[in-house]
């Protein structure tokens, strides 16, 4: 059944949704949206270096994303520059160097648009296995990490006083973000990946009473948007990545915004 490119696209998209949405809840709760974006932007450099050095591209992206994530977390305690300014600088340094590095990849071997905005209709059988295998591993790790990560997200010092290993837990979490970026890149592209993490969380928020409900609803919202976006893309012959983003946006404005407005009086 994986012979059909549409089926492969749907499967890859659903895998990416199931992976990115629960992780994205933590990104939103911990106010790390721009952090995730910066890590994602570093992915292009990984792709280009992968090409130039002849290593697996997913591996290349994992390496640059992990390096960027560790760098960013190491810089969190510096006070010289506001953190969001620093993120802005590094995000665009990463993107620019990725684009320049891509220039050095000869000919048409590197489909730049595909990496920037995703090329879900071109995912291979191997990509589908990568995404589902990776999603299973990352979600299993997130499940193990869930309690301490949630505790330190609510109140870091209280969690530390209660024995949570703060640094270790945080580092594990940002590594999961880096791996997620590498896995979801094929589906939605490095420029749009953050939307697959934060939109579903924002859609789910007004309908959830606990963090777990929010994560589950976010995964559901992401799956619906991926299916809807792909459907639109095939029907109207539009780019898949941006179509998924607009489907997520439609969910946000149709479902979440009215609910938030009602709750907020």
């Amino acid at each position: 059944m994986l012979d059909d490119f549409e089926t492969r696209a749907v499967l890859a998209g659903l895998g990416a949704a199931a992976l990115a949405a629960p992780l994205g809840c933590f990104v939103v709760w911990r106010r790390m949206a721009y952090f995730g974006e910066t890590v994602a932007y570093s992915g292009l450099l990984g792709v280009a270096l992968g090409f130039l050095l002849g290593v697996d591209l997913t591996l290349g992206v994992i390496v640059t994303a992990v390096a960027m994530a560790l760098l960013l977390s190491g810089l969190q305690t510096q006070r010289a520059i506001p953190y969001d300014t620093l993120l802005g600088i590094l995000a665009h340094v990463a993107l620019a160097s990725g684009l320049i590095a891509a220039n050095f990849v000869s000919g048409a071997r590197l489909d730049l648009m595909g990496y920037l905005f995703g090329d879900i209709l071109a995912v291979s059988r191997a990509d589908v296995f990568w995404i589902w295998g990776g999603a299973a591993a990352v979600l299993a790790a997130l499940a193990l990490l869930w309690r301490p990560l949630l505790a330190l997200t609510v109140h870091e010092e209280l969690a530390a006083a209660e024995g949570v290993r703060v640094r270790r837990t945080e580092t594990a979490f940002i590594l999961l973000i880096a791996v997620t970026v590498a896995l979801a890149m094929k589906v939605i592209g490095i420029l749009l990946i953050t939307s697959l993490m934060i939109f579903p969380a924002a859609v789910a928020r007004p309908f959830a009473k606990t963090p777990e409900q929010m994560a589950a609803l976010a995964a559901l919202a992401a799956a619906v948007a991926v299916a809807g976006g792909l459907f639109l893309s095939l029907k109207l012959d539009t780019a898949a990545g941006p179509s998924i983003v607009l489907a997520l946006a439609a969910l946000f404005f149709v479902a979440a915004v009215p609910a938030l407005a009602l709750r907020g009086r």
């Binding site: 949630l150 997200t153 609510v154 109140h155 010092e157 209280l158 006083a161 703060v166 009473k209």
Partner: protein, 278 residues
């Protein structure tokens, strides 16, 4: 032999450290936690100088002192959240701590019911969670969202959550900060009754002098170093205390048994006889 954990004195940590306390040494007496000759400085600026303090089973120790006196820092040192620059911290092995931090910002973007908050970082049964909420008078809040609680309700929920861990030691940093005067008096009564029932040690940080002293067994007056300490009557009469808080503060405790007909100290609270116990 009873064993406690020791903090290695070392370089200052700016954030909660992993495994900040691993070594164990024998503990003096029945102390749950003790700081010995603790000094700590941030960016070369001394915050605590040669401070020693201990909390024993079943006693309420109150830290008082002006803003910037290092009260919260001392609590964080005792909790193992920062390592002292010099000196050491002893902690009884296997000590369970219930902590109510001074500041507790809640993010609206995370849905969190009181019920869910109770077992955020430990497997607490539904029944125990409700029992502890009832113990602090917060049983009716179980289904509320944390973001919808008032200041007093929030403190009661934090306290209930700390109790659900069955702590040997409660560390309460300004628990009455967001509560009005009557609420504060109730809260301190509640803390006293918890201590009486559970026999846990309590380290209380406060600047609500008039209310808090009555509820304390021992008071430590801190202003980077320890100015004076002892039973509340002793501290209230101590010249250092008078110097820090002014003679009216001591008088407003009602410890001497005389009353002023008017007060113009500290927060301008109307004490209405509430401070007149003792």
């Amino acid at each position: 032999m009873r064993r406690v954990r020791e903090e290695k004195s070392g370089h200052m940590l700016t954030r909660a450290a992993d495994g900040a306390h691993d070594r164990t040494v024998s503990a003096p007496g029945s102390a749950l936690v003790a700081a010995e000759h603790v000094s700590i400085s941030f960016r070369g600026k001394p915050v605590l100088e040669n401070v020693g303090v201990a909390v024993h089973e079943g006693e309420i120790v109150t830290l008082i002192g002006p803003n910037g006196a290092g009260k919260t820092t001392l609590a964080r040192v005792l909790l193992g959240l920062v390592a002292p620059t010099s000196g050491r911290v002893l902690r009884r092995a296997g000590l369970t701590v219930g902590y109510v931090p001074q500041r507790f910002p809640v993010e609206r973007i995370m849905p969190l019911s009181v019920r869910r908050f109770m077992h955020l970082n430990a497997a607490i049964s539904k029944e125990r969670a409700l029992e502890c909420l009832a113990e602090t008078g917060a049983a009716s809040l179980a289904d509320a969202q944390m973001t919808d609680l008032s200041g007093g309700e929030f403190q009661r929920v934090l306290l209930a959550r700390a109790l659900a861990r069955e702590p040997d030691l409660l560390v309460l940093d300004e628990p009455a900060r967001a509560v009005d005067f009557a609420g504060a008096a109730q809260l301190y009564d509640l803390i006293a009754s918890i201590r009486a029932r559970r026999r846990c040690g309590v380290l209380l940080i406060s600047h609500d002098l008039h209310v808090v002293l009555g509820a304390s067994d021992r008071v430590v007056c801190l202003n980077r170093h320890i100015c004076c300490e002892g039973v509340p009557q002793h501290v209230a009469a101590h010249p250092e205390y008078m110097r820090l808080f002014g003679p009216e503060a001591a008088a407003s405790l009602g410890i001497y048994g005389h009353r002023h007909d008017h007060r113009h100290t500290l927060s301008g609270d109307i004490c209405g006889g509430g401070g007149g116990k003792g």
